[in-house]
Subunit: 260 residues, 2 copies
């Protein structure tokens, strides 16, 4: 038996709307929303805890098999009227599927020989989503985020990551500089990407793996974080453009670290 | 003497609004709009033909030196009231500077030993802007676009390119497959990026340069275009993500072609 909701004043509807708009609310409730058939299926296949599955009648009928799978994985299944779903949706053409998913920080211990990305104060959700997607596609073992990055569970990041948030170990740390120090002391190489006093990535030996640090879109990495790293690396650049976009730089840097 | 416009019914205001919203109108008028101090200065320094410079009084006063430079380069200078500028602006926090710039296709002949990107049906303006920015930063000699890519002069692309549209030779071709064929016949290597029957980019010799072809976000390159290329290359991928975002893939591929 599934419930049916048509009123925008229903408490679940208010809950979802707040989960979609407020990072603080997501954090307090330890859950987030993913939208669309593909992301909902990603949640199921990655074994995420699905607190609630919401759908429109039309979407359910059109995707019976997937809908059935998500329903059996979800604790609660709720049919929403199409206008209500549209109102909640973050997209112009909603697919009629969304899930509330438990957010579980997959903590991990960085090991020698493994490859990680570490992001400091990345502010643009599109950049964060793209970097997570790239890190997963290239085979990174995990991603470390400074606590002042934009929220990894915002709808834009979840969508941009193409579900990587469900699968990739992501660890949020209070003090990234300190974390980098400790990794270095354990013999793990930590690469600060910075144009100053840095070695061309083509002349850097990445064979031991390590952690690639990527800084804020406007200002790059903090000086203290750069100082805490064991190595400094840079992408050779020729053009007049001052720099690469953060996610473009991350793609090249992670490629070199992992596959290069 | 500068003019002053306060009415939204003024013909120049209507002209700018249409230039910002319609690719067809931009094409018919062979001009486009760039907004913000940095992009307007980029237009000046790259020698672009500035048809009109619009500014608010406040922005002019705050940036006298830059405003003076742009004014002396522009054919026409117009002060707009702040509310009018806000209405026109594509951003939430307008800087009070915009220019109408002549769009001139910088045609170029691909040469042996040079490096180019060629994009087929890229649809997302953010991707196109980022790829242009990356191509310039890495030192590409030019970019070839299929005519069904999104418009290179849309405000989002111009902004995302960080001014690369002013400096990078960009050539739009009606039949990309045919162009690729002809380049191959001239002895220029053309690399199709595709996961099928392709060689790992780590095992590909890029020492002669060539053209890196990147396809549509959802569907990749057309089969006919892949067949027309001299080489097929792929980025090694490990994760469950089906693919990289088009601009992330382009970053890695262009890096390998140009700097790798």
């Amino acid at each position: 038996m599934t419930e049916k909701i048509t009123s925008k004043d229903n408490s679940l509807i208010k809950h979802i709307a707040k989960l979609m708009s407020s990072a603080k609310y997501r954090h307090e409730n330890a859950c987030f929303v993913c939208e669309g058939i593909r992301l909902c299926m990603d949640a199921v296949f990655s074994g995420a805890q699905i607190i609630c599955f919401c759908f429109t009648e039309k979407a359910f009928e059109k995707n019976r098999e997937n809908a059935g799978l998500i329903c059996s994985a979800a604790k609660r299944c709720v049919e929403l009227s199409a206008p209500l779903f549209s109102k909640l949706s973050g997209t112009d053409t909603p697919q009629g599927f969304l899930c509330i998913v438990r957010s579980e920080e997959k903590s991990f211990k960085a090991e020698k020989g493994s490859c990680y990305a570490a992001l400091e104060r990345i502010q643009d959700p599109s950049n964060l989503g793209t970097i997570l997607r790239t890190a997963e596609a290239l085979g990174a073992d995990g991603v470390i985020l400074s606590s002042d990055c934009c929220d990894v569970y915002s709808p834009k990041v979840v969508r941009g990551s193409m579900g990587a948030v469900f699968r990739l170990p992501v660890c949020i740390v209070e003090d990234l500089t300190q974390t980098v120090w400790e990794l270095g002391k354990k013999g793990i190489r930590t690469f600060a990407s910075t144009p100053r006093n840095a070695v061309n990535i083509n002349e850097t030996d990445f064979s031991d793996g390590g952690v690639m640090l990527i800084g804020n879109e406007g200002n790059g990495l903090d000086d203290s974080t750069i100082d805490a790293c064991t190595d400094r690396v840079m992408i050779p650049m020729k053009g007049r453009a001052e720099s690469l976009n953060a996610s473009a730089a991350a793609s090249i840097l992670l490629y070199k670290l992992i596959c290069g």
